[in-house]
Amino acid sequence: MDAHSGDHQADHGPCVRVMDSRKILFDGEGFLNDFDDWSETVFETLAKERGLTQITDQHLRVVRFMREYYAYHGRAPMNRQLKEGTGLSVMALEKVFPDGLKHGARRLSGLPNPKTCN
Protein backbone atom coordinates (compact mmCIF):
# COMPACT_ATOMS: atom_id res chain seq x y z
CA MET A 1 0.00 0.00 0.00
CA ASP A 2 1.57 3.21 -1.10
CA ALA A 3 -0.33 6.47 -0.91
CA HIS A 4 1.96 7.98 -3.51
CA SER A 5 1.86 5.33 -6.19
CA GLY A 6 -1.93 5.62 -6.31
CA ASP A 7 -2.49 3.19 -9.20
CA HIS A 8 -5.74 1.94 -7.68
CA GLN A 9 -6.90 5.52 -7.08
CA ALA A 10 -6.33 6.75 -10.62
CA ASP A 11 -9.45 7.13 -12.73
CA HIS A 12 -9.23 4.68 -15.63
CA GLY A 13 -12.77 5.29 -16.87
CA PRO A 14 -15.86 3.14 -16.29
CA CYS A 15 -15.83 -0.52 -17.27
CA VAL A 16 -18.13 -3.53 -17.34
CA ARG A 17 -16.88 -6.80 -15.89
CA VAL A 18 -18.42 -10.24 -15.60
CA MET A 19 -18.52 -11.42 -11.98
CA ASP A 20 -20.76 -13.86 -10.16
CA SER A 21 -22.26 -14.73 -13.57
CA ARG A 22 -23.44 -11.15 -14.11
CA LYS A 23 -22.29 -8.07 -15.98
CA ILE A 24 -21.34 -5.43 -13.42
CA LEU A 25 -20.58 -1.78 -14.11
CA PHE A 26 -17.67 -0.20 -12.22
CA ASP A 27 -16.67 3.45 -12.19
CA GLY A 28 -13.19 4.62 -13.17
CA GLU A 29 -11.85 4.08 -9.64
CA GLY A 30 -13.21 0.54 -9.34
CA PHE A 31 -16.30 1.36 -7.25
CA LEU A 32 -19.54 -0.47 -8.02
CA ASN A 33 -21.97 1.67 -9.96
CA ASP A 34 -24.94 -0.06 -8.33
CA PHE A 35 -24.98 -0.93 -4.62
CA ASP A 36 -27.23 -3.93 -5.39
CA ASP A 37 -24.64 -5.51 -7.70
CA TRP A 38 -22.62 -6.54 -4.65
CA SER A 39 -22.55 -10.13 -3.44
CA GLU A 40 -20.15 -12.04 -1.23
CA THR A 41 -18.78 -13.67 -4.38
CA VAL A 42 -18.13 -10.24 -5.93
CA PHE A 43 -16.51 -9.18 -2.66
CA GLU A 44 -14.25 -12.25 -2.61
CA THR A 45 -13.20 -11.72 -6.24
CA LEU A 46 -12.41 -8.04 -5.72
CA ALA A 47 -10.67 -8.73 -2.41
CA LYS A 48 -8.40 -11.31 -4.03
CA GLU A 49 -7.50 -8.86 -6.78
CA ARG A 50 -6.46 -6.35 -4.12
CA GLY A 51 -4.23 -8.88 -2.39
CA LEU A 52 -6.68 -9.89 0.36
CA THR A 53 -6.43 -13.64 0.04
CA GLN A 54 -7.53 -14.62 3.54
CA ILE A 55 -10.97 -13.22 4.29
CA THR A 56 -11.65 -13.39 8.01
CA ASP A 57 -14.74 -12.90 10.15
CA GLN A 58 -13.44 -9.42 10.89
CA HIS A 59 -13.49 -8.49 7.21
CA LEU A 60 -16.98 -9.82 6.83
CA ARG A 61 -18.17 -8.06 9.98
CA VAL A 62 -16.88 -4.69 8.69
CA VAL A 63 -18.30 -5.17 5.21
CA ARG A 64 -21.69 -6.31 6.48
CA PHE A 65 -21.88 -3.40 8.92
CA MET A 66 -21.06 -0.88 6.17
CA ARG A 67 -23.63 -2.38 3.81
CA GLU A 68 -26.35 -2.61 6.42
CA TYR A 69 -25.70 0.95 7.52
CA TYR A 70 -25.81 2.22 3.96
CA ALA A 71 -28.94 0.27 3.10
CA TYR A 72 -30.77 1.63 6.15
CA HIS A 73 -29.53 5.26 6.17
CA GLY A 74 -28.79 5.84 2.51
CA ARG A 75 -25.28 7.06 3.28
CA ALA A 76 -21.97 5.68 4.48
CA PRO A 77 -21.37 5.61 8.24
CA MET A 78 -19.46 8.54 9.73
CA ASN A 79 -16.14 7.82 11.37
CA ARG A 80 -17.54 7.55 14.89
CA GLN A 81 -20.37 5.30 13.69
CA LEU A 82 -17.85 3.10 11.95
CA LYS A 83 -16.00 2.71 15.25
CA GLU A 84 -19.15 1.98 17.23
CA GLY A 85 -20.48 -0.41 14.62
CA THR A 86 -17.33 -2.46 14.18
CA GLY A 87 -15.77 -2.12 17.63
CA LEU A 88 -12.48 -1.11 16.00
CA SER A 89 -10.57 2.16 15.94
CA VAL A 90 -10.44 3.89 12.56
CA MET A 91 -6.69 3.26 12.48
CA ALA A 92 -7.23 -0.45 13.10
CA LEU A 93 -9.92 -0.54 10.41
CA GLU A 94 -7.52 1.08 7.97
CA LYS A 95 -5.16 -1.83 8.58
CA VAL A 96 -7.79 -4.52 8.03
CA PHE A 97 -8.05 -3.87 4.29
CA PRO A 98 -5.05 -3.73 1.94
CA ASP A 99 -6.13 -0.41 0.41
CA GLY A 100 -7.25 1.19 3.65
CA LEU A 101 -10.68 2.66 4.25
CA LYS A 102 -11.92 4.56 1.26
CA HIS A 103 -10.29 2.47 -1.43
CA GLY A 104 -10.39 -0.73 0.57
CA ALA A 105 -13.29 -1.20 2.98
CA ARG A 106 -15.66 1.15 1.24
CA ARG A 107 -14.92 -0.09 -2.26
CA LEU A 108 -15.05 -3.75 -1.32
CA SER A 109 -18.33 -3.18 0.52
CA GLY A 110 -19.89 -1.98 -2.69
CA LEU A 111 -20.68 1.50 -1.41
CA PRO A 112 -20.68 4.28 -4.00
CA ASN A 113 -17.55 6.31 -4.67
CA PRO A 114 -17.78 9.37 -2.37
CA LYS A 115 -15.73 11.48 -4.83
CA THR A 116 -15.23 14.09 -2.13
CA CYS A 117 -12.23 15.67 -0.54
CA ASN A 118 -12.50 14.24 2.98
Partner: protein
Amino acid sequence: MIYEEFLLDDKALIYLDNAATSYPKPAGCMLRALARYIELGVSPSRGGYDLAREAETAVSDVRHALRCFFGADENYPVCFGSNATDALNTLIQGLTEPGDHVVSTCLEHNSVLRPLHHLRAQGRIEFDLAEFDASGFVNPDDIAAMIRPHTRMVVINHASNVLGTVQPVSAIGEICRNKGIPLILDVSQSAGAIPIEMKKWNVSGLAFTGHKSLLSPSGIGGLIIHPDLPIRSIRFGGTGIDSGNLFHTQTFPHRLEAGTLNLLGILALGESLLYLQERETQGYRPREMWLTERLRDGFSEIYGIDQYAVQSLENHLPLLTCNVRGYAAADVGAILDGDFNIAVRAGLHCAPLVHERLGTAPNGAIRFSVGFLNSIDSIDSAISAMSIIARNA
Protein backbone atom coordinates in the same frame (compact mmCIF):
# COMPACT_ATOMS: atom_id res chain seq x y z
CA MET B 1 -11.54 34.75 27.46
CA ILE B 2 -11.19 33.99 23.77
CA TYR B 3 -13.22 30.79 24.10
CA GLU B 4 -16.06 32.79 25.61
CA GLU B 5 -16.03 35.11 22.61
CA PHE B 6 -16.59 32.12 20.37
CA LEU B 7 -18.99 30.25 22.70
CA LEU B 8 -16.84 27.15 22.37
CA ASP B 9 -15.76 24.51 24.80
CA ASP B 10 -11.97 24.36 24.61
CA LYS B 11 -12.09 20.61 25.15
CA ALA B 12 -14.14 20.10 22.00
CA LEU B 13 -12.98 19.07 18.56
CA ILE B 14 -9.51 20.26 17.57
CA TYR B 15 -10.35 22.22 14.47
CA LEU B 16 -7.44 22.56 12.05
CA ASP B 17 -9.43 23.20 8.89
CA ASN B 18 -9.57 26.97 9.05
CA ALA B 19 -8.38 27.31 5.44
CA ALA B 20 -11.61 25.62 4.32
CA THR B 21 -13.73 27.81 6.56
CA SER B 22 -13.03 29.47 9.86
CA TYR B 23 -14.79 27.77 12.73
CA PRO B 24 -16.36 28.73 14.98
CA LYS B 25 -17.31 32.29 14.07
CA PRO B 26 -17.03 35.02 16.69
CA ALA B 27 -20.34 34.62 18.49
CA GLY B 28 -20.64 38.30 19.45
CA CYS B 29 -20.35 39.37 15.80
CA MET B 30 -22.91 36.84 14.63
CA LEU B 31 -25.38 37.74 17.38
CA ARG B 32 -25.01 41.47 16.79
CA ALA B 33 -25.52 40.95 13.06
CA LEU B 34 -28.60 38.85 13.72
CA ALA B 35 -30.02 41.48 16.07
CA ARG B 36 -29.47 44.17 13.44
CA TYR B 37 -31.03 41.96 10.80
CA ILE B 38 -34.10 41.40 12.95
CA GLU B 39 -34.37 45.16 13.25
CA LEU B 40 -33.39 46.12 9.67
CA GLY B 41 -34.24 43.07 7.60
CA VAL B 42 -36.12 44.70 4.75
CA SER B 43 -34.91 44.92 1.18
CA PRO B 44 -32.05 47.44 1.07
CA SER B 45 -32.72 50.35 -1.32
CA ARG B 46 -35.94 48.77 -2.58
CA GLY B 47 -38.59 51.25 -1.45
CA GLY B 48 -38.57 54.84 -0.33
CA TYR B 49 -39.53 54.19 3.28
CA ASP B 50 -37.04 55.04 5.97
CA LEU B 51 -36.31 51.47 7.04
CA ALA B 52 -35.31 50.42 3.48
CA ARG B 53 -33.05 53.44 3.27
CA GLU B 54 -31.58 52.63 6.65
CA ALA B 55 -30.84 49.08 5.48
CA GLU B 56 -29.19 50.53 2.37
CA THR B 57 -27.05 52.78 4.58
CA ALA B 58 -25.95 49.72 6.56
CA VAL B 59 -24.93 48.00 3.31
CA SER B 60 -23.05 51.11 2.14
CA ASP B 61 -21.20 51.22 5.45
CA VAL B 62 -19.92 47.68 4.86
CA ARG B 63 -18.89 48.57 1.30
CA HIS B 64 -16.91 51.44 2.78
CA ALA B 65 -15.36 49.21 5.46
CA LEU B 66 -14.27 46.74 2.76
CA ARG B 67 -12.55 49.47 0.74
CA CYS B 68 -10.63 50.53 3.84
CA PHE B 69 -9.81 46.94 4.74
CA PHE B 70 -8.41 46.11 1.29
CA GLY B 71 -6.61 49.41 0.63
CA ALA B 72 -8.95 50.65 -2.10
CA ASP B 73 -9.98 54.25 -2.76
CA GLU B 74 -13.49 55.44 -2.01
CA ASN B 75 -14.39 55.49 -5.74
CA TYR B 76 -13.65 51.76 -6.17
CA PRO B 77 -16.97 49.92 -6.61
CA VAL B 78 -17.67 47.11 -4.14
CA CYS B 79 -20.14 44.54 -5.45
CA PHE B 80 -21.55 41.77 -3.31
CA GLY B 81 -22.01 38.17 -4.37
CA SER B 82 -22.15 34.85 -2.65
CA ASN B 83 -18.46 33.92 -2.44
CA ALA B 84 -15.10 34.25 -4.22
CA THR B 85 -15.98 31.69 -6.89
CA ASP B 86 -19.02 33.77 -7.77
CA ALA B 87 -16.90 36.94 -7.86
CA LEU B 88 -14.19 35.31 -9.98
CA ASN B 89 -16.76 34.09 -12.48
CA THR B 90 -18.12 37.63 -12.71
CA LEU B 91 -14.63 39.05 -13.24
CA ILE B 92 -13.39 36.43 -15.71
CA GLN B 93 -16.56 36.24 -17.78
CA GLY B 94 -17.28 39.96 -17.52
CA LEU B 95 -13.85 40.99 -18.76
CA THR B 96 -13.03 38.52 -21.51
CA GLU B 97 -14.11 38.84 -25.15
CA PRO B 98 -13.87 36.17 -27.84
CA GLY B 99 -10.27 35.80 -28.96
CA ASP B 100 -8.79 37.05 -25.70
CA HIS B 101 -5.83 35.52 -23.91
CA VAL B 102 -5.52 35.13 -20.13
CA VAL B 103 -2.45 34.51 -17.99
CA SER B 104 -2.83 32.61 -14.74
CA THR B 105 -0.90 30.08 -12.66
CA CYS B 106 -0.82 26.40 -11.74
CA LEU B 107 -1.48 27.39 -8.13
CA GLU B 108 -5.07 28.32 -8.85
CA HIS B 109 -8.16 26.92 -7.23
CA ASN B 110 -10.89 25.50 -9.44
CA SER B 111 -12.70 28.82 -8.95
CA VAL B 112 -10.31 30.17 -11.59
CA LEU B 113 -9.31 27.00 -13.46
CA ARG B 114 -12.83 25.88 -14.24
CA PRO B 115 -14.09 29.20 -15.68
CA LEU B 116 -10.92 29.36 -17.79
CA HIS B 117 -11.30 25.79 -19.05
CA HIS B 118 -14.99 26.27 -19.83
CA LEU B 119 -14.33 29.47 -21.77
CA ARG B 120 -11.55 27.79 -23.70
CA ALA B 121 -13.74 24.78 -24.47
CA GLN B 122 -16.34 27.19 -25.88
CA GLY B 123 -13.64 28.63 -28.13
CA ARG B 124 -13.85 32.03 -26.46
CA ILE B 125 -10.40 32.39 -24.94
CA GLU B 126 -7.00 30.81 -24.66
CA PHE B 127 -4.78 30.89 -21.61
CA ASP B 128 -1.32 30.10 -20.26
CA LEU B 129 -0.50 29.02 -16.73
CA ALA B 130 2.77 29.94 -15.01
CA GLU B 131 4.44 27.18 -13.00
CA PHE B 132 5.50 27.53 -9.37
CA ASP B 133 8.92 26.67 -8.00
CA ALA B 134 9.86 24.02 -5.42
CA SER B 135 9.14 26.50 -2.63
CA GLY B 136 5.64 27.17 -3.94
CA PHE B 137 6.16 30.60 -5.51
CA VAL B 138 5.44 31.95 -8.97
CA ASN B 139 8.19 33.99 -10.62
CA PRO B 140 6.84 37.39 -11.80
CA ASP B 141 9.19 37.17 -14.81
CA ASP B 142 7.34 34.04 -15.96
CA ILE B 143 4.08 35.97 -15.85
CA ALA B 144 5.66 38.81 -17.86
CA ALA B 145 6.96 36.37 -20.47
CA MET B 146 3.47 34.91 -21.02
CA ILE B 147 1.78 38.23 -21.72
CA ARG B 148 0.80 38.61 -25.39
CA PRO B 149 -0.64 41.55 -27.33
CA HIS B 150 -4.17 40.20 -26.86
CA THR B 151 -3.81 39.25 -23.18
CA ARG B 152 -6.94 40.59 -21.48
CA MET B 153 -6.03 39.92 -17.87
CA VAL B 154 -3.69 38.25 -15.42
CA VAL B 155 -5.59 36.35 -12.73
CA ILE B 156 -3.69 34.94 -9.76
CA ASN B 157 -4.21 33.42 -6.37
CA HIS B 158 -2.77 35.70 -3.68
CA ALA B 159 -2.04 32.74 -1.43
CA SER B 160 -2.19 29.07 -2.34
CA ASN B 161 -4.89 27.17 -0.47
CA VAL B 162 -2.75 24.03 -0.68
CA LEU B 163 0.73 25.30 0.12
CA GLY B 164 -0.02 28.53 1.96
CA THR B 165 2.59 30.41 -0.02
CA VAL B 166 1.87 34.12 -0.54
CA GLN B 167 2.67 35.21 -4.08
CA PRO B 168 4.68 38.34 -5.00
CA VAL B 169 1.62 40.35 -5.96
CA SER B 170 3.27 43.73 -5.78
CA ALA B 171 5.86 42.74 -8.42
CA ILE B 172 3.21 41.14 -10.63
CA GLY B 173 1.03 44.23 -10.25
CA GLU B 174 3.91 46.40 -11.41
CA ILE B 175 4.31 44.26 -14.54
CA CYS B 176 0.58 44.47 -15.27
CA ARG B 177 0.52 48.23 -14.73
CA ASN B 178 3.44 48.74 -17.13
CA LYS B 179 1.75 46.62 -19.78
CA GLY B 180 -1.71 48.10 -19.19
CA ILE B 181 -3.28 44.74 -18.33
CA PRO B 182 -5.72 44.32 -15.44
CA LEU B 183 -4.51 42.17 -12.55
CA ILE B 184 -7.28 40.15 -10.94
CA LEU B 185 -6.46 38.87 -7.47
CA ASP B 186 -8.14 35.98 -5.67
CA VAL B 187 -7.80 36.75 -1.96
CA SER B 188 -9.95 33.87 -0.70
CA GLN B 189 -7.21 32.52 1.55
CA SER B 190 -5.35 35.71 2.39
CA ALA B 191 -8.18 38.14 3.23
CA GLY B 192 -8.20 38.56 6.98
CA ALA B 193 -5.02 36.53 7.36
CA ILE B 194 -2.50 39.08 6.03
CA PRO B 195 -2.72 42.76 5.00
CA ILE B 196 -3.86 43.48 1.44
CA GLU B 197 -3.17 46.75 -0.41
CA MET B 198 -5.25 46.73 -3.55
CA LYS B 199 -4.39 50.17 -4.89
CA LYS B 200 -0.74 50.10 -3.88
CA TRP B 201 -0.23 46.74 -5.61
CA ASN B 202 -2.00 47.87 -8.81
CA VAL B 203 -4.75 45.31 -8.45
CA SER B 204 -7.65 46.04 -10.83
CA GLY B 205 -10.09 43.48 -9.50
CA LEU B 206 -10.15 41.65 -6.19
CA ALA B 207 -12.38 38.67 -5.35
CA PHE B 208 -13.04 37.84 -1.70
CA THR B 209 -15.14 35.45 0.36
CA GLY B 210 -16.39 36.08 3.86
CA HIS B 211 -16.33 32.64 5.39
CA LYS B 212 -12.58 32.02 5.71
CA SER B 213 -10.25 34.36 7.59
CA LEU B 214 -12.79 37.19 7.41
CA LEU B 215 -14.68 35.12 10.03
CA SER B 216 -18.08 35.69 8.45
CA PRO B 217 -20.80 33.22 7.53
CA SER B 218 -20.74 31.27 4.30
CA GLY B 219 -22.76 32.76 1.44
CA ILE B 220 -21.32 36.26 1.46
CA GLY B 221 -18.45 37.45 -0.71
CA GLY B 222 -17.87 39.83 -3.52
CA LEU B 223 -15.46 41.88 -5.55
CA ILE B 224 -13.83 45.28 -5.56
CA ILE B 225 -12.72 46.82 -8.82
CA HIS B 226 -10.81 49.77 -10.12
CA PRO B 227 -13.38 52.34 -11.29
CA ASP B 228 -12.01 52.27 -14.86
CA LEU B 229 -12.14 48.48 -15.28
CA PRO B 230 -14.22 47.81 -18.43
CA ILE B 231 -16.36 44.99 -17.09
CA ARG B 232 -19.72 43.82 -18.43
CA SER B 233 -22.68 42.47 -16.49
CA ILE B 234 -22.92 38.72 -16.76
CA ARG B 235 -26.22 38.40 -14.89
CA PHE B 236 -29.27 40.53 -15.32
CA GLY B 237 -32.33 41.32 -13.24
CA GLY B 238 -33.66 43.50 -10.49
CA THR B 239 -31.45 46.21 -9.03
CA GLY B 240 -34.02 48.32 -7.20
CA ILE B 241 -33.43 51.31 -9.44
CA ASP B 242 -34.25 52.36 -13.02
CA SER B 243 -37.02 49.76 -13.16
CA GLY B 244 -38.50 51.08 -16.41
CA ASN B 245 -35.37 50.12 -18.30
CA LEU B 246 -35.52 46.58 -19.68
CA PHE B 247 -31.73 46.38 -19.74
CA HIS B 248 -29.61 45.88 -16.65
CA THR B 249 -28.51 48.98 -14.73
CA GLN B 250 -24.99 49.95 -15.74
CA THR B 251 -24.02 52.12 -12.80
CA PHE B 252 -21.96 50.54 -10.03
CA PRO B 253 -22.41 48.55 -7.88
CA HIS B 254 -25.63 47.51 -9.65
CA ARG B 255 -23.86 46.54 -12.89
CA LEU B 256 -22.42 43.48 -11.15
CA GLU B 257 -25.23 42.76 -8.70
CA ALA B 258 -28.56 41.24 -9.68
CA GLY B 259 -31.38 40.44 -7.26
CA THR B 260 -31.80 41.05 -3.56
CA LEU B 261 -28.60 41.11 -1.54
CA ASN B 262 -27.71 38.80 1.34
CA LEU B 263 -28.30 41.46 3.99
CA LEU B 264 -27.68 39.17 6.97
CA GLY B 265 -24.36 38.06 5.47
CA ILE B 266 -23.36 41.66 4.74
CA LEU B 267 -24.17 42.78 8.29
CA ALA B 268 -22.17 39.85 9.69
CA LEU B 269 -19.26 40.71 7.40
CA GLY B 270 -19.33 44.28 8.69
CA GLU B 271 -19.23 43.06 12.29
CA SER B 272 -16.39 40.65 11.51
CA LEU B 273 -14.33 43.40 9.88
CA LEU B 274 -14.62 45.46 13.06
CA TYR B 275 -13.67 42.43 15.14
CA LEU B 276 -10.62 41.73 12.96
CA GLN B 277 -9.41 45.29 13.31
CA GLU B 278 -9.63 44.96 17.09
CA ARG B 279 -7.86 41.60 17.08
CA GLU B 280 -5.16 42.91 14.78
CA THR B 281 -3.80 45.03 17.60
CA GLN B 282 -3.60 41.94 19.80
CA GLY B 283 -1.11 40.19 17.52
CA TYR B 284 -3.08 37.12 16.50
CA ARG B 285 -1.22 36.74 13.19
CA PRO B 286 2.26 36.18 14.67
CA ARG B 287 0.70 33.70 17.11
CA GLU B 288 -0.90 31.68 14.32
CA MET B 289 2.41 31.58 12.43
CA TRP B 290 4.26 30.57 15.56
CA LEU B 291 1.84 27.67 16.05
CA THR B 292 2.31 26.69 12.40
CA GLU B 293 6.05 26.66 12.88
CA ARG B 294 5.62 24.44 15.92
CA LEU B 295 3.49 22.08 13.85
CA ARG B 296 6.01 22.01 11.01
CA ASP B 297 8.91 21.39 13.35
CA GLY B 298 6.98 18.65 15.14
CA PHE B 299 6.15 16.90 11.87
CA SER B 300 9.77 17.22 10.73
CA GLU B 301 10.80 15.02 13.64
CA ILE B 302 8.45 12.22 12.59
CA TYR B 303 9.77 9.57 10.22
CA GLY B 304 7.39 8.95 7.35
CA ILE B 305 5.82 12.40 7.04
CA ASP B 306 6.45 14.36 3.85
CA GLN B 307 5.70 18.08 4.04
CA TYR B 308 5.42 20.38 1.05
CA ALA B 309 6.90 23.86 0.59
CA VAL B 310 7.52 24.57 4.26
CA GLN B 311 11.32 24.92 4.31
CA SER B 312 10.69 28.59 5.06
CA LEU B 313 7.51 30.05 6.49
CA GLU B 314 8.33 33.55 5.23
CA ASN B 315 5.50 34.80 3.03
CA HIS B 316 3.35 31.97 4.20
CA LEU B 317 -0.13 31.56 5.66
CA PRO B 318 -0.67 29.53 8.82
CA LEU B 319 -1.25 26.25 7.04
CA LEU B 320 0.80 23.29 5.97
CA THR B 321 0.22 20.26 3.82
CA CYS B 322 1.73 16.82 4.17
CA ASN B 323 1.32 13.10 3.62
CA VAL B 324 2.06 10.05 5.73
CA ARG B 325 3.90 7.42 3.73
CA GLY B 326 1.88 4.25 3.42
CA TYR B 327 -1.51 5.90 3.82
CA ALA B 328 -4.01 7.47 1.47
CA ALA B 329 -4.60 11.08 2.53
CA ALA B 330 -8.35 10.50 2.91
CA ASP B 331 -7.70 7.69 5.37
CA VAL B 332 -5.38 9.83 7.49
CA GLY B 333 -8.13 12.45 7.61
CA ALA B 334 -10.62 9.80 8.73
CA ILE B 335 -8.25 8.47 11.43
CA LEU B 336 -7.53 11.97 12.75
CA ASP B 337 -11.24 12.62 13.00
CA GLY B 338 -12.46 9.26 14.25
CA ASP B 339 -9.65 8.37 16.64
CA PHE B 340 -8.21 11.75 17.68
CA ASN B 341 -11.08 14.24 17.26
CA ILE B 342 -8.99 16.41 14.95
CA ALA B 343 -10.57 17.97 11.85
CA VAL B 344 -8.32 18.54 8.84
CA ARG B 345 -8.83 18.62 5.08
CA ALA B 346 -7.60 15.73 2.98
CA GLY B 347 -7.69 15.38 -0.78
CA LEU B 348 -7.00 17.66 -3.71
CA HIS B 349 -8.30 20.87 -2.08
CA CYS B 350 -10.00 21.90 -5.36
CA ALA B 351 -6.56 22.73 -6.72
CA PRO B 352 -5.69 19.68 -8.86
CA LEU B 353 -2.76 21.23 -10.72
CA VAL B 354 -0.89 21.92 -7.48
CA HIS B 355 -1.16 18.27 -6.53
CA GLU B 356 -0.18 17.17 -10.04
CA ARG B 357 3.01 19.23 -9.73
CA LEU B 358 3.71 17.97 -6.21
CA GLY B 359 3.24 14.38 -7.36
CA THR B 360 0.42 13.90 -4.84
CA ALA B 361 -2.44 13.47 -7.34
CA PRO B 362 -4.86 11.72 -7.39
CA ASN B 363 -4.95 11.06 -3.65
CA GLY B 364 -3.93 14.56 -2.62
CA ALA B 365 -2.58 15.38 0.80
CA ILE B 366 -3.60 16.36 4.32
CA ARG B 367 -3.85 20.05 5.11
CA PHE B 368 -3.60 21.45 8.62
CA SER B 369 -4.68 25.08 8.89
CA VAL B 370 -4.33 27.02 12.11
CA GLY B 371 -6.83 29.57 13.35
CA PHE B 372 -7.62 31.95 16.20
CA LEU B 373 -8.64 29.32 18.69
CA ASN B 374 -5.88 26.79 18.32
CA SER B 375 -3.82 26.43 21.45
CA ILE B 376 -0.33 25.03 21.93
CA ASP B 377 -2.00 21.92 23.34
CA SER B 378 -4.07 21.42 20.21
CA ILE B 379 -0.98 21.69 18.02
CA ASP B 380 0.90 19.24 20.22
CA SER B 381 -2.05 16.85 20.08
CA ALA B 382 -1.94 16.98 16.27
CA ILE B 383 1.80 16.24 16.28
CA SER B 384 1.31 13.36 18.68
CA ALA B 385 -1.58 11.93 16.62
CA MET B 386 0.43 12.11 13.41
CA SER B 387 3.34 10.43 15.14
CA ILE B 388 1.13 7.50 16.18
CA ILE B 389 -0.35 7.22 12.69
CA ALA B 390 3.08 7.28 11.02
CA ARG B 391 4.40 4.62 13.41
CA ASN B 392 1.49 2.35 12.45
CA ALA B 393 2.03 2.66 8.71
